[in-house]
């Protein structure tokens, strides 16, 4: 039996494993490092960082829902300068492969973040979280507006140059996801991250008011997996050459393979790390095993496999 080639690439970045953390679900990395070496997984996607430090939203910031959860963190974070000074060096020291997630309130803020990161060594890729309210346009989320999405990616692309691959992270809360995806790819995104959380809400029946401090929150976890798989499948069908970082409810190797077959080149694990701090490791080894059992010689061979023409078997 040949050794399985488990590596993947996103733009010009190579990763020995396709299993990454999901932005906002691994904090700075230090906390998960208590449970496994960060070097052992494909990559660490950091919590979306903004230009300035932010307190985020009031508590309660979470609600459990059937097979899922809502969160409304509101991008609490230390700001890009503190992040570059403290978190990047730690991750480099751990030999983690780093994907930095950035978020902004204006097109300009995204470009500023890209400029500050451009000269930082040790970053494998940039994930651009465009599921943020655009303060210049009635708070309309960038990722829900084809035009604003393009402008953000365009600004980042110009600033960052060609060296670091850009992954545009999209929201599923849109009528035409494929159009948004095509737009950002035309504007210079090398890859897409699918999906961010789905907008949801819970009413607290004791207070008879919205439960979350932020009123609405983002739904994540196994509940949304069918939505994520559909999004990945649709976008891969339209843009078969664009690598996809899939996520949304993955908690087993089986789930990861589902996303890969739908078209993902790598898979992020978010909420599952809350259920199980070593989920990344178990998903990774289960996925490897499954690929072997199914007779794949490489992870790449399974990417988008569910799209093969009728009649083609394995």
């Amino acid at each position: 039996m040949n050794e399985l080639d488990f590596s993947t690439t996103i733009g010009n970045a190579w990763f020995p494993s396709p299993i990454f953390t999901a932005s906002g679900c691994a904090s700075s990395g230090r906390e998960l490092a208590q449970f496994f070496p960060l070097h052992d997984i494909g990559g660490v996607v950091t919590k979306s960082v903004m230009n300035k430090a932010r307190h985020g939203r009031p508590t309660p910031r979470m609600a459990e829902t059937p097979s899922g959860m809502l969160n409304s963190i509101g991008l609490q974070g230390p700001g890009i300068d503190a992040f570059i000074a403290k978190d990047i060096p730690y991750l480099i020291e751990q030999k983690a492969r780093i994907i930095v997630s950035i978020a902004g309130e204006t097109v300009e803020e995204y470009a500023t973040l890209a400029r500050k990161l451009r000269s930082v060594a040790g970053i494998s890729a940039l994930e651009v979280n465009i599921s943020c309210p655009n303060v210049e346009n009635r708070g309309l989320v960038f990722a829900c507006d084809p035009d604003a999405s393009r402008r953000v990616i365009d600004g980042v692309r110009r600033t960052i140059g060609g060296e670091i691959p850009i992954i545009a992270k999209l929201s599923p809360d849109v009528t035409d996801l494929v159009a948004i995806a095509q737009g950002v790819v035309e504007s210079g995104a090398d890859a897409l991250a699918l999906i961010n959380t789905v907008l949801g809400m819970v009413i607290n029946l004791d207070t008879m008011r919205p439960h979350l401090g932020g009123t609405t929150g983002g739904l994540s976890g196994p509940a949304i997996r069918p939505i994520a798989v559909r999004a990945i499948y649709q976008v891969h069908a339209a843009l078969p050459k664009t690598p996809i970082l899939g996520m949304g409810g993955v908690s087993t190797g089986r789930d990861a393979l589902e996303m890969i077959a739908a078209g993902a080149s790598a898979v992020s694990i978010g909420t599952a790390s809350f259920t199980n701090p070593t989920a990344l490791i178990s998903v990774q080894s289960e996925l490897k095993e499954l690929l072997r059992i199914k007779g794949f010689e490489s992870l790449r061979g399974a990417v988008g496999f569910a799209h093969r023409p009728e009649g083609v078997v394995q």
Partner: protein, 278 residues
């Protein structure tokens, strides 16, 4: 910025005892050598609902006591209130159930280096970690007084054997069904003066902690409280469990109560800005 409790490990741990105590369940869980690493104030995060559970988040419980002499090796005791679906599931588990537990988590109560006088105040199941704490303090030569409160008798957790380390124990219930009628916060002010209290340790609902803090603020009494915020992960990776904390310059930070807490300095918390746990 704190980091996760260095001793934390994820283990499979067997329930070796489950007994109803008033309106709570006392669970004894075998955790082996990790018991040595648990300090009063630490908590655990437990998976609930079994394999095909729709509950994706762990539940947090204070470690009430650890014991190393038992026939099961090291064990820990939890006092669990059957509240929603997760805690009810846990209370329904019998001996032999294997749980997925992350233990120990969070900060511990600070122990004074001198044998000062201390007051321990617990609300509801908040008394659970106080008896283990009392033993530690007692061993340090502290005089330990304790106040426990709850809405009703069944919600007072005060085990016989726990009282050994306590000099005095007063109980308050809002319906008068046990101890005195009233709130646990009623006598604090006079007790501080009468007993020359140096440190108050508290654990219970946030409004109780906040009320205690109002009494201690402006005094020299140190207030070490174990806070309770909704926690999605318990290990510092989700940022849901934050508590607004002021530094000396008065700058506010939102600190994670799972790794900068649950035990925090009451005086540093911006109580007016804290949320309400459901």
């Amino acid at each position: 910025m704190a980091t996760i409790n260095k001793a934390a490990v994820q283990i499979r741990a067997t329930v070796v005892g489950n007994k109803r105590v008033g309106q709570y369940y006392q669970l004894i869980i075998s955790i082996g050598e990790i018991a040595n690493q648990c300090r009063p104030g630490n908590f655990v995060a437990i998976n609930v609902g079994g394999e095909s559970s729709r509950m994706v988040l762990r539940r947090a419980f204070a470690i009430s006591r650890v014991s190393e002499s038992s026939s099961f090796g090291g064990t820990m005791e939890l006092i669990v209130a059957p509240h929603g679906s997760g805690s009810k599931w846990l209370c329904a588990q019998s001996e032999g159930t294997v749980l997925d537990v992350v233990v120990p988590l969070g900060t511990a109560f600070g122990i004074p280096t001198e044998p000062v006088r201390v007051l321990l105040i617990g609300g509801g199941y908040g008394s659970a970690p106080l008896f283990g704490l009392a033993e530690t303090l007692h061993a340090r030569g502290c005089r330990v007084d304790m106040l426990l409160g709850a809405s009703t008798a069944g919600k007072i957790y005060a085990p016989m054997e726990g009282k050994r380390a306590v000099n005095s124990l007063r109980i308050f219930t809002e319906d008068g069904s046990m101890g005195q009628l009233g709130q646990v916060t009623d006598p604090i002010k006079s007790l501080i003066e009468d007993l020359d209290i140096a440190v108050i340790y508290s654990c219970g609902p946030m409004p109780m902690l906040s009320a205690i803090n109002e009494i201690t603020s402006g005094t020299n009494v140190i207030h070490q409280c174990a806070v309770e915020e909704s926690m999605a992960c318990g290990i510092g990776i989700c940022m849901t469990c934050v508590i607004p904390v002021k530094d000396e310059a008065g700058n506010l930070s939102m600190l994670r109560s799972c790794i900068d807490g649950p035990v925090m300095d009451g005086a540093s918390i911006a109580w007016e800005k804290t949320g309400q746990v459901i």
